[in-house]
Symmetry: C2
Subunit: 351 residues, 2 copies
């Protein structure tokens, strides 16, 4: 796939400088076609029958295998979810934390991670997103470090593997802004959440949870997908591997759409995204104050006197899509492997 072919795959890019994959990636025509084809089959043939469910299970297997390969783990360590929030809730509830336990996180995380921590019953220790401060907050009571690999607020990259190694404490990594954007190796992580709808450009409400050792996490939120077998009184034998944590049905179209989206990503994805993000930073520096960052999110402070929301609206009217980060007084641009210099030029010009 050439860069021109990549651009042509995403119809929205023909008329919008779409720089918001950190919320929702652009959708490719092939992704929507894959979804539509399954919906048409559902309409005409019904959503039932042995072959229907067999195909659904096969597609799910394929999707797990593909996502596992993306983050260098075994397919048996992957559970399909609807969001990174799903993954955080499943892990944190499964750890059975209590008031004697501590969890360490940062003050720049998404509510999809912070909310589950807050209701967990554990003492939530919040530090600035500085590796030394995070490590210094670990005590013998710390049961979990729970942080993003790339902070959605500032774009900062955290050395999650080193945090795991140096603390010796299990780590839950929110991969919402890393998986698909930068190379991610989950092999040394205890738990990793993946979003399908952001940097993987998949359908809404898709994601995955990687669990290094599925046998050691309690199933806090079972579904019919969790069980290998069950008794009429509800006792059940869980499925092997991380599938036991799968919380919900996903439509055939949703599964097929995410597979189609994964098929699309070229080998040069990470290299090109990194280069484009550097060029984005360069284009903005001098015009606005750009925060440091090493992944594909570029956060900047509004020019003096302007509110982030005002800028976002103004840019939207100029067909440039970025977002505001509430509470941080920042504007955030997302650079993907599909982002062009023209997109960056339009962003800089519209500022």
């Amino acid at each position: 796939m050439t860069f021109a072919e990549a651009r042509a795959a995403f119809p929205v890019l023909a008329h919008i400088a779409y720089l918001n994959a950190g919320t929702f990636g652009p959708l490719a025509r092939k992704t929507v076609e894959a979804m539509a084809a399954e919906q048409q089959a559902d309409l005409e043939q019904g959503r039932s029958g042995a072959s229907y469910f067999e195909r659904w299970l096969e597609l799910r297997d394929e999707l797990r295998t593909r996502l596992a390969g993306l983050v260098r783990v075994a397919a048996e360590q992957v559970a399909l979810t609807a969001s990174t929030t799903d993954g955080c809730n499943i892990v944190i509830a499964g750890l059975d934390l209590g008031p004697e336990d501590e969890v360490v996180t940062t003050n720049a995380e998404h509510f999809g991670l912070l909310g589950p921590l807050r209701v967990s019953g554990a003492r939530v220790v919040v530090t600035p997103p500085d590796p030394d401060r995070i490590l210094a907050a670990v005590t013998p009571r710390t049961r979990l470090i729970a942080v993003s690999q790339v902070l959605w607020t500032t774009g900062q990259l955290l050395p999650v593997r080193e945090l795991r190694e140096q603390s010796g404490v299990p780590i839950l990594v929110d991969g919402a802004q890393s998986v698909g954007a930068i190379p991610v190796d989950a092999a040394a992580l205890d738990f990793l959440t993946i979003s399908g709808q952001k940097w993987l450009c998949g359908p809404d409400a898709t994601g995955a949870l990687v669990v290094a050792d599925p046998e050691r996490l309690r199933i806090a939120r079972p579904s019919f997908l969790s069980k290998e077998s069950s008794e009429p009184d509800g006792r059940f034998a869980p499925r092997a591997g991380a599938r036991r944590f799968e919380p919900n049905w996903l439509s055939m179209g949703t599964v097929a759409g995410l597979i189609a989206a994964l098929d699309l990503a070229p080998e040069w994805r990470y290299e090109r995204s990194a280069e484009t993000t550097s060029r984005c930073r360069a284009a903005l520096e001098g015009k606005v104050e750009v925060l440091p960052g090493a992944a594909t999110l570029v956060a900047f402070r509004p020019p003096e006197g302007e509110m982030p929301e005002t800028i976002v609206t103004r840019l939207h009217e100029a067909a440039v899509v970025v977002r505001a980060i509430p509470g941080f007084e920042l504007v955030r641009a997302s650079c993907g492997w599909w982002t062009s210099d023209d997109d960056l030029g339009r962003l800089a010009a519209a500022l």
Copy 2:
């Protein structure tokens, strides 16, 4: 809408005697068109921008209002979910049950209810699905009665309102096989789960949870939809009403599709479903042993010597779609307001 118009709305009915709404309802052309229109807009315009999210919130409000009207509660008591399993997990986890607590359920429930009960920490008391036996199992330690209004296994109808009144114990009603199939009044119930994809003929992975008194149930599984506001350390003020329990994003197409499906149901839905179910029973009696039931599921024992799965496969080859109920040695047919006498004749003939 006439009955002929109802039939024509569902393409699958033109060539299949589709009798499995208890798993997935038939999809109407208008439902799939509504989904496809949103997906096309997502493809061309991107999934971002203030107006995009405003519209999404408005559609969700509309959907909550519609579902609330269907079961005679206030919209503020409705949370949108992805499944009845979601609803059961949210309620049971939020009750913070422990080993001193008891929950009463029956031996004919779906794992989407039994699984969450089983991992809750409470003692699970299982009785036959007989109202007297259920009431007799209640003790001072009983924190919850958790039963289906219509059992997915046998089609039996349980008097959930009377169980609530006579026990004085909070009740969680799994409405997977009742809402959309028979008139349901949730006003006297503490918790009710709704499936969007079964008797409401909506898109996959849709549903709702009705909570009579949202303030009294702990938020065990927060998402960004749960909060009115939050601090960087995760402390949050919940949204008013049951919206605080909403666990996940639903795509614009999914929300629009379920609204389109709700638009479709005619006023005569319940009357016609009840009559058709009676005719289904009459058509099968004499041929097979039909279990008693008062809703729209008709469960029957296979003719001697045949396995339920074998019958289901044989019928499927004759373009008649029913399902087997594992562990109960039953075959189950679902009769909706769209079901014709011809469908029933084909079922009886194929047996």
